[in-house]
């Protein structure tokens, strides 16, 4: 139930988008350059040249755009979504039953760095590799462990030992 409430809250904030869209000045790209074409070969003309700073439309719109080589691709823009990093809007172009382009005319400006204070304790390198017990660790970070490989992992040993 609480999950549903959280879900609803995240959609309610979409309304806020109508009043403007700010980009972080610290981002490496400006809002004006936000329209990126990802059309694959053979597809063209799917971009509508929207300017991200206007917030474009916040309701779903379906636009059929012209294409030179593919039978009537359809470009659909999803609702704008407010995220922790800013509003996001996505356009997906489909032709003949497959995606031909994904465009993100409005995207989150934050890169996860804006609020960091860079005050982590530095990692401590171990001169000779150690096992988890002798290094006394609580958790293990590494290339993603799959469920199949879990039983052989260091993390599994820690979880089992309850240390």
């Amino acid at each position: 139930m609480r999950r549903i409430v959280m879900w609803l809250l995240s959609t309610v904030t979409v309304v806020v988008l109508l009043f403007g869209y700010h980009t972080s000045t610290s981002g490496p790209t400006s809002a004006g350059s936000a329209v990126i074409s990802s059309g694959s070969s053979g597809v063209s003309g799917t971009l509508s040249g929207t300017n991200s700073s206007s917030g474009t439309s916040s309701s779903s719109s379906s636009t059929t755009t012209g294409s030179t080589s593919t039978a009537s691709p359809q470009t659909v823009t999803g609702d704008s979504v407010q995220t922790r990093w800013g509003p996001v809007e996505v356009q997906v172009t489909v032709a003949n039953g497959t995606i031909t382009a994904v465009n993100v005319p409005v995207y989150p400006s934050g890169n996860g760095k804006d609020e960091e204070i860079n005050a982590y304790a530095l990692p401590r390198l171990i001169q000779e590799t150690l096992d988890a017990q002798s290094a006394k660790v609580d958790m293990v970070s590494g290339a993603t462990v799959t469920s199949d490989g879990y039983l052989q992992s260091l993390q599994s040993a820690l979880d089992k030992a309850g240390v």
């Binding site: 999950r3 959280m6 879900w7 995240s10 790209t29 694959s40 070969s41 053979g42 597809v43 779903s60 379906s62 823009t77 999803g78 979504v81 995220t83 990093w85 996001v88 809007e89 996505v90 356009q91 003949n96 039953g97 497959t98 995606i99 994904v102 995207y107 989150p108 890169n111 996860g112 760095k113 609020e115 960091e116 204070i117 860079n118 005050a119 982590y120 304790a121 530095l122 990692p123 401590r124 390198l125 590799t129 988890a132 290094a135 006394k136 660790v137 609580d138 293990v140 970070s141 590494g142 290339a143 993603t144 462990v145 799959t146 469920s147 879990y150 260091l154 993390q155 599994s156 309850g162």
Partner: protein
């Protein structure tokens, strides 16, 4: 909670979703009571819902149906838009090395936002654990984790970083009070990360670990740096990330994100001390 080093052992939980193990360690007030169990069950419910929406292994997930053109982005939950937006941002910031789309041999774009979904989903799910008062947690999904200590006097979580050449051993330890640790590498699942621009499989770098505030971005940056291969450490430095790069030749390089970025924030002597 006591402020001494004599904390009881953390209580641990393990479950599986999205084909990977989810490990939780709890210390403090709520470790095995009703509230702890409820929070853990909400975390797993959250992750299962994410799997239903995003899995590329499920034909009926929103992302799979979107990828086949059966539904439009307007039919998808707002989370899909959020994740695609993050993927786009990551592509820009990695000069295209990170991309949630793969181009098939005959042109069509395949949608695979998995590189964004995991960190984002686990960070989001960790909100259920943040809600537990006076409780420390470390929530790991297959080795990428969110750490939280509630009491400034309690010790940091000690995170061991696997040696990609020998995943039974460690090359580094990282103490984390608040923040996230994510590692990308090919040690377990083979060459599943490529440079999206060229399709090249990284050969110089063996693994990249990023320590950051946000697991979403730690995960994205670790994957992007790994895809950038020989430029991994330089790129992480340009982003002022605290990171560990293990090269294929076995050497280990540390990038120091604690270097002062803005003079007003921290003196370097302060930033190097433990929080």
């Amino acid at each position: 909670m006591t402020a001494t080093g004599l904390l009881p052992r953390p209580t641990r939980y393990v479950d599986h979703v999205m084909g990977m193990p989810i490990s939780l360690a709890l210390r403090g007030r709520h470790t095995h009571d009703h509230r702890a169990l409820e929070a853990w069950s909400e975390v797993m419910a959250d992750l299962r819902e994410v799997d239903r929406v995003f899995s590329t292994y499920r034909e009926d997930s929103f992302v799979s149906r979107l990828g086949r053109g059966e539904i439009t982005v307007a039919d998808c939950p707002p989370e899909v838009v959020e994740v695609l937006g993050l993927g786009h941002r990551a592509r820009l910031e990695s000069d295209g090395a990170f991309d949630v789309r793969r181009r098939g041999p005959d042109g069509p774009v395949t949608l695979d936002p998995s590189g964004v979904v995991k960190g984002w989903a686990v960070e989001r799910a960790s909100a259920w654990l943040h809600a537990l008062p006076e409780t420390d947690f470390c929530l790991s999904a297959g080795g990428d984790m969110v750490c939280h200590t509630d009491d400034p006097a309690s010790p940091p979580w000690r995170v061991g970083i696997e040696d990609p050449a020998d995943p039974g051993r460690l090359v580094a330890t990282v103490p984390v009070r608040q923040g996230a640790v994510a590692t990308s590498g090919s040690a377990r699942r083979g060459a599943h990360i490529v440079d999206a621009r060229t399709g090249a499989v990284p050969g110089r770098v063996a693994s990249v670990t990023v320590v950051a505030d946000s697991l979403t971005w730690a995960d994205i940056d670790a994957t992007a740096a790994y895809a950038l291969d020989r430029e991994a450490a330089a790129w992480l430095r340009s982003r002022r990330r605290t990171a560990i790069v293990v090269w294929a030749d076995g050497s280990v390089e540390l990038t120091d994100g604690t270097a002062p970025r803005q003079a007003s924030r921290l003196r370097s002597s302060d930033s190097l001390s433990h929080r």
